[in-house]
Symmetry: C2
Subunit: 687 residues, 2 copies
């Protein structure tokens, strides 16, 4: 058991003992704690600039402005979809990389959106009022309606210049409305070859030492012109110093540090094993399919890396939860809070039922988890075409309802994003779609059983492969105009459509919605109520000097550049370029692109490449700027080490590390490998 | 918690309360218990006949003699390897089925062996003497040497007419030498089409109701003529009656009912997840590869079903171990025995250390489990060609040692079987071998990491795919004569061989043997010692009216034909033929072969097809005869229901069921579908 490990929100230790733990909201950043540990003062101006220079990529990543002309630095792996969509048979941008020599060569990424958080307003009391006195299921409905209303009002208040999103923090302990400035026109500026961006591939993923140039430049456009972005980050030429305090701003996707033991066991025993079995098989299908033709290989190359990343994450999440000692520590923490609540009549009356509510919700969910997953969450119908069909069928029905009664992904606030995704001219690879659809129908039959009513309804007398072929070959949903026509035609167009994918989405929709409602009433409603109660109990018992679980909203973490000890050996926090050239084998994923082989003599072998820091990040932080206390960019977060995966449940400063690309190698590569003088010139580089 | 559940060896209940639990050895069958529960007396003559009429298929199954001329009934799925080896591009015996119209049309199954247990001799004391006073590692070596010596003496005593094998029962509580008569010439007589043999495929696997004609006839030959087998089973025309007591004889492969909690957690947290992840991916690779050509499909069709079976088994084994209540019950049982041992100074002195020994063994194994699995157990080098290479390299080295110092799979007793496997003219599908080799090298790199010394030694600068191609394309080990030449050439031939697969097996052998030795000394030796101590403690505390875990040796189980209750509904123990025809969809795996569609009007729709019984069986019992108390064959075991999988750890009579093919449908199909009059005539059918 590692003694340095501290659980979130259980800390009753002197300040100096605090680990570099926490994905803090910008309005609750523990500046005093940081000052006391690292002797640097992070003030409101610093935080405000960092906030406005940090962008959210709506496909699940983070970026940062790198110039006043909308230039955005993010990870290469955050732009794989864009790169694939822009590739053709003749030109594989993933293999070849991409560089626009002038702005008119920058290529629009279909459907890509970038947002900047400009305002946060707490609405906890308003939400509480809207749900007061209601039973759990009714409260759940009322809460959603209220959040939709608040979002709508916020957008109107901004003259519809901002996107407003409700955010639940501390598992329902607080509600906020966050307002974003959104850019819908995002273009690809520069991307290195996949072989250097993801050098080491899946074998090296989550490993360190590491040598990945996992960077891409995008550019935000407004009205067809580069956006004006006065809040951008200066780059430090040399990157960070050893032991230097650093800060990561970004949008960590989710963590599970506040879950109860029952919830953790549901993940450990049901959700992760099912996910892993499905995706291990899909990985196998994709790998074998990639061997059948160069087009197939191009279609799935990056997707395989994405799946492999997901597998590595989840098998380490599973491993973390199989650690009996850690689970016992979690259980002890839960027991302690419950004992405090039980011992105080007022606390007991207010929060005593919380854990039972959650236990009941999870027990109920276990009874229909697979059906809900395959039918409503569409794990049985994977693929671009079904996604379009579901969106069109659902969206068409939802648009006819009053805004506050809709499923929240189809509210007036959400619809512009939905439509952008639906109308974007992304190519659909029908062969790949067929592979996914065959696979997912197959898995649905496997897990629900051949005698399931859902399976009968969907498959009839067809095998998964036969049905997938009929659905995919027969569908025209790969044509953006056709999707637009259906969407604009409304219910009449949808209901009379002969498109087999639309017909499937329609046929299954009643069952899917019934499962959704069952989930909302039996699982979500009591779970949210229980979580809110536990959050409030924590605030009362432990105070508010704490941070919420990640929710893909803006957070700041702090730490320092530092290696760690692995099996008795010290890991140096920096890697250097010389070792990259020694490590290449000539075979993927350890193959260098031609540009690097050619540039070998020009590149300084001592240039620092990747580095690690103690900052507390997770998925969604990909592309995050790593900042020094002076506000300058010193690195680009792109991964965590293998120990960082358990960070989903607990932060262990002794081994949990962020992995970043050093600004030194980014500048060196732009200059010496890619000859990207125009990009280096656009940056503001300081020493 | 089901109240009817009883753990092995913990019973202190009146006789009538005993569940139909236990895979009993033939010499310790609880005839009194059966008589008291079912009012039928199983005597020694009954058991002796059943013993001699039951055969072991050395590829992991069971069969029974069906005539005095060596005819053997077993499962179709036990003969998939044979059927595949005998198929050609022109003639797919799996799709088409096979029937020899005369004996000279019967086709030899390459490498297939069948054995009959003829004698059992207890040697517990001899083994104890050989290991007395030695430390665990030395005792482990001495035990192996003694067992090899005993086997060797037994074979000499029989004038080398019998094969003698050491057997450890009750996890080391008893040691036996079992003697077998072995048939090396086994031929295919009749096999129905895969579509009816495995109707419902993976979706229906472990399900019931069920409709599978999972039967095959083989024939044992001696000196080129059908073997004389006077001990065979008569078939009952009508199959079993509802509630009738029935008995299954056969060779259950393994169960884990006596494992400690630490051992169960090792399976739950390490071994099953790793296996499942690997095989889910391999399944995916094979499924996608099968789509690339008819030959590929033929090569992997049955292998995919085999892997899917393994996945279903292990995911339900995992689910069983994730059942906290059952684990708590197991833990309570262990705690109870330990408390009894601790409370008695003599027991404590003799057995008190047992659990600590096993805990230490497992903790040690966790440190090198992956390396041991991939390098020594060859999970990193899957495929026929590497198996041949390993056998040649290891066997050649081992043959030069004195018999008692060899690895036990290369003793004088084992070598004839090794050579038969090595020299058998089985076709090797090089493309499929390449797929497996690519996959397994890939997984080795994934799980050991790209910086592992083993991975460096094996891959060098190659990718898994490149190396697999070099190894498989360059190897001549697919040629039986070449294998024979190497084997007979001995160490000189092996060491100078240029065959890349032989070179790989040689290159890795030192590391593999070192891991083997580490496993034997650090894991196996203390584990066996601990298990022996626990077994002895159990005998002293609970007595010997109990049965050992399965060990792929002959066992008899008892029970009755009975359905069970599933979600409030009673499952009828019999299915009928009419429903088979209703259930077909025309698409695999619910497609009927042409023979059945054509015969539909001739087949009696009321004929009973499959049935379930409460008998306690597991994998290895596939192909087992299901006998009535009168000694007649009434069915053919081919599966268990889904609840039977948890039977690996505990037997729950309320839901655990054997699934069998009714003799009624086997006879009807032979007569009405296949016109196999000559086979029906060879059987002895009674009413």
């Amino acid at each position: 058991m590692n003694k340095k490990l501290i659980f979130a929100a259980v800390a009753a230790l002197p300040l100096s003992a605090f680990a570099d733990e926490g994905m803090w909201t910008i309005d609750n950043f523990p500046a005093q704690r940081v000052a006391s540990k690292y002797n640097v003062m992070i003030d409101d101006a610093w935080l405000r600039t960092a906030q406005l220079a940090t962008t959210r990529l709506e496909n699940g990543c983070t970026g940062s402005f790198a110039s006043a002309d909308g230039l955005v630095l993010t990870n290469n792996h955050c732009t794989w979809g864009c790169v694939r969509n822009l590739s053709t048979e003749e030109r594989n941008l993933s293999d070849e990389g991409f560089m626009a020599l002038a702005r008119d060569e920058e290529l629009q990424c279909p459907g890509q959106q970038i947002s900047v958080l400009v305002n946060m307003e707490e609405v906890t009391d308003t939400v509480a009022k809207a749900t007061a006195g209601l039973d759990d299921a009714a409260a759940n409905d009322a809460r959603k309606a209220e959040l939709t209303r608040l979002e709508s009002a916020c957008e109107k208040n901004s003259g519809n210049t901002l996107n407003c999103e409700a955010v639940s923090l501390y598992n329902g302990g607080q509600y906020f409305i966050y307002s974003y400035k959104r850019y819908d026109d995002v273009r690809l500026v520069f991307a290195p070859e996949l072989d250097i961006a993801a050098f080491g591939g899946d074998p090296d993923n989550f490993n360190f030492p590491r040598w990945c140039l996992d960077m891409t430049f995008l550019r935000a456009y407004e009205d067809g012109k580069p956006a004006s972005t006065p809040n951008f980050l200066q780059w430090r030429q040399a990157g960070p110093r050893a032991k230097e305090p650093v800060f990561v701003t970004g949008h960590p996707g989710s963590t599970d540090r506040l879950l109860t033991i029952t919830q953790l066991k549901m993940l450990r025993d049901v959700e992760y094993p099912l996910w892993l079995l499905r995706y291990a098989e899909l990985r196998g299908r994709m790998l074998a399919w990639a061997d059948t033709s160069p087009e197939a290989a191009r279609a799935v190359q990056q997707r395989i890396l994405g799946i492999e990343n997901g597998i590595k994450v989840r098998r380490n999440l599973l491993k973390a939860l199989q650690n009996d000692e850690m689970m016992a520590m979690k259980a002890a923490e839960e027991k302690k809070l419950r004992a405090i609540v039980e011992a105080d009549p007022e606390l007991k009356a207010a929060y005593g039922d919380a854990w039972r509510l959650i236990d009941d919700a999870i027990e109920s969910y276990r009874n229909f988890y697979e059906a809900h997953l395959f039918v409503e969450f569409a794990a049985g119908f994977q693929g671009d075409l079904f996604n379009y069909a579901r969106t069109i069928v659902r969206g068409t029905a939802e648009r006819e309802k009053p805004n506050e009664e809709r499923i929240r992904s189809y509210t007036d606030g959400a619809l512009p994003g939905v439509e952008q995704g639906l109308f974007a001219n992304r190519p659909v690879d029908k062969k790949y779609d067929k592979l996914r659809m065959t696979f997912s129908l197959d898995k649905m039959r496997e897990w629900l059983g051949p005698d399931s009513e859902y399976v009968h309804l969907v498959l009839g007398n067809d095998s998964p492969k036969t049905l997938a072929a009929k659905l995919v070959d027969g569908s025209r949903l790969d044509v953006a105009d056709y999707r637009k026509q259906l969407w604009e035609g409304g219910a009449a167009a949808v209901e009379t459509s002969n498109d087999p994918m639309v017909k499937l989405a329609l046929a299954i929709d009643n069952d899917a919605r019934a499962l959704r409602k069952r989930y909302e009433n039996e699982v979500e409603a009591p779970r949210i109520r229980g979580e809110e109660m536990i959050a409030d109990a924590r605030f009362e018992v432990y105070g508010t000097d704490t941070y919420p679980d990640a929710t893909f909203t803006l957070r700041v973490t702090y730490g320092a550049v530092a290696g760690w000890e692995e099996k008795g050996a010290d890991i140096n926090p920096f890697t250097r370029t010389s070792r990259l050239f020694e490590r290449t084998t000539g075979e993927r994923p350890f193959k260098l692109p031609a540009s690097w082989i050619e540039a070998r003599e020009r590149v300084n072998p001592d240039t620092r490449f990747n580095f690690v820091a103690t900052t507390d990040i997770t998925g969604g932080n990909s592309g995050s700027p790593i900042l020094a206390a002076d506000g300058n960019l010193v690195g680009l977060a792109f991964d965590g080490n293998i120990h960082s995966i358990a960070g989903n449940y607990w932060f262990d400063e002794s081994v949990n590390r962020t992995v970043g690309v050093n600004t030194a190698i980014m500048l060196e590569a732009l200059d010496k490998v890619y000859g990207a003088d125009h990009l280096v010139d656009e940056l503001t580089v300081v020493n």
